[in-house]
């Protein structure tokens, strides 16, 4: 008869907390970098320069069709095997997650950019707004509003996907949990606790993003 002992696991809550902080740091760094990279790729995807377009398309298709785990292995083991770089597991984790989610974000942002109606830009121009003003006051708020929900889902995916970097010993929540489970031989209890923590994280992340949308972003008529 197996008796659940959550107390045994919760004694290690400081380790879990440290892992949680790593998960948060990793997720936030990834969101930041992938948003920048994703925007660049999205702009290349709609650019008229054939070379940039081809590169961006290849990038998006590659990272959307290869599992995150394989990307992590390539970044961590592959690069050191070619002896170009030697990444620590932390750097490799951030890079792999960023490369992966930038591909998905690029497609979301591209969709947002394409949704700006030509007439809207023309009418802004006829009001005498400068190019920068159009960009700043018409295009950006509009695109942000359109892509917000999809990017929010992607942010949750980043949090959930961050658990995968535990395979290269990135010291985040899942890895911390695996260590505790192995020392105490309490695998089931540990993963129940991890499940609850991840659920809390992703549900609160999506709620925060929804509140921000409701409070700060003005609705536009196309939704």
């Amino acid at each position: 008869m197996y008796i659940m002992q959550f107390g045994e696991v919760l004694k290690y809550s400081d380790m879990l907390l440290r892992g949680l902080l790593f998960t948060l740091e990793l997720s936030i760094l990834t969101m930041f970098f992938s948003l920048i990279l994703g925007t660049v790729i999205a702009l290349w995807r709609i650019s008229k320069n054939k070379f940039l377009f081809a590169f961006a398309t290849a990038y998006v298709e590659f990272f959307r069709n290869v599992p995150l785990l394989i990307v992590i292995y390539i970044v961590f083991y592959g690069t050191s095997a070619l002896s170009i770089f030697r990444f620590t597991s932390i750097t490799a984790g951030v890079i792999a997650l960023t490369l992966n989610s930038a591909a998905f974000e690029a497609e979301i942002i591209r969709g947002g950019l394409k949704a700006i109606a030509k007439e809207q830009l023309e009418s802004a121009q006829s009001l005498g707004l400068s190019k920068f003003q159009i960009f700043r006051f018409i295009a950006i708020p509009y695109v942000i509003r359109i892509v917000w929900t999809a990017l929010g889902n992607q942010a949750v995916d980043i949090i959930l996907g961050s658990s995968v970097v535990s395979v290269i010993a990135f010291p985040e929540l899942t890895y911390a949990g695996m260590n505790i489970a192995a020392t105490k031989d309490r695998y089931f209890e540990v993963f129940v606790i991890l499940l609850i923590i991840y659920l809390t994280l992703s549900v609160s992340a999506s709620s925060i993003l929804r509140v921000i949308k409701r409070v700060f972003l003005k609705p536009n008529e196309l939704e």
Binding site: P67, V71, Y198, L199, V203
Partner: protein
């Protein structure tokens, strides 16, 4: 990287495809029930389905795999293989997403269709069975293919609990031969061909099916 090893990886890819096919079939059955629960007027069924869907969509698949892997022997006293664990995890996880696909497909059928079938004297169940569902299934095919693609990618995680499919074979070959870059490159290429091909098929079908609606 010898041809033998490439063949071995391809064999692993077939295993991954098999598990995902099984997973999506079972996931469709479960997901369909969940979507009907979501659309039903009984509050309890509604809540249960909602909780199920959110539980599986808001937690990492890796954690779900571990929970099933360690939970089955403890909770149900069954010793199973990694294959069974992977299939169960794929089924449970995908059914949450498939429930949403079916829900929006059924919900996407115009209200006029319901009214029309009622006016023909069909009961609620008959309307669902003969009018709504055939159309909803058609709408659901492209997103189901996308779901299959994302399942195929995430099935690589099952290698972590020791399920021998393409990713596991890749790590085994890697640690034995130290030809890291070749092995991972070939593995990525195989995944790419499978997933890219399937998603192209998905968008092709999406365009074809749009004509009819």
């Amino acid at each position: 990287m010898t041809w033998m090893r490439v063949l071995l990886l391809l064999r692993g890819a077939v295993v991954a495809l098999e598990v995902c096919t099984l997973g999506i079939i079972l996931g469709c059955v479960l997901g369909f029930c969940l979507s009907l629960m979501r659309l039903s007027k009984i509050k309890t069924l509604n809540m249960l389905s909602l909780i199920y869907v959110e539980l599986f969509r808001d937690s990492p698949l890796l954690i779900q795999l571990f929970l099933i892997f360690y939970g089955l022997p403890i909770l149900f006293k069954v010793q199973t293989s990694a294959l069974v664990v992977a299939t169960i995890a794929m089924t449970l996880n995908s059914s949450a997403y498939i429930a949403e696909i079916f829900k929006s497909a059924i919900g996407g059928i115009m209200k006029g269709q319901w009214d029309a079938s009622y006016s023909l004297g069909l009961s609620h169940l008959q309307s669902l069975r003969y009018v709504i569902l055939p159309q909803a299934f058609r709408i659901a095919i492209p997103p189901l293919i996308n779901q299959f693609v994302s399942m195929l990618k995430s099935s690589s995680l099952a290698s972590i609990i020791g399920f021998v499919e393409i990713t596991k074979l890749a790590t085994m070959i890697r640690s034995r031969t130290f030809t890291t870059f070749d092995v991972l490159g070939v593995t990525a290429a195989i995944y790419f061909v499978m997933c890219y091909g399937l998603s192209r098929l998905g968008s092709y079908l999406e365009k074809r099916l749009e004509i009819g609606t």
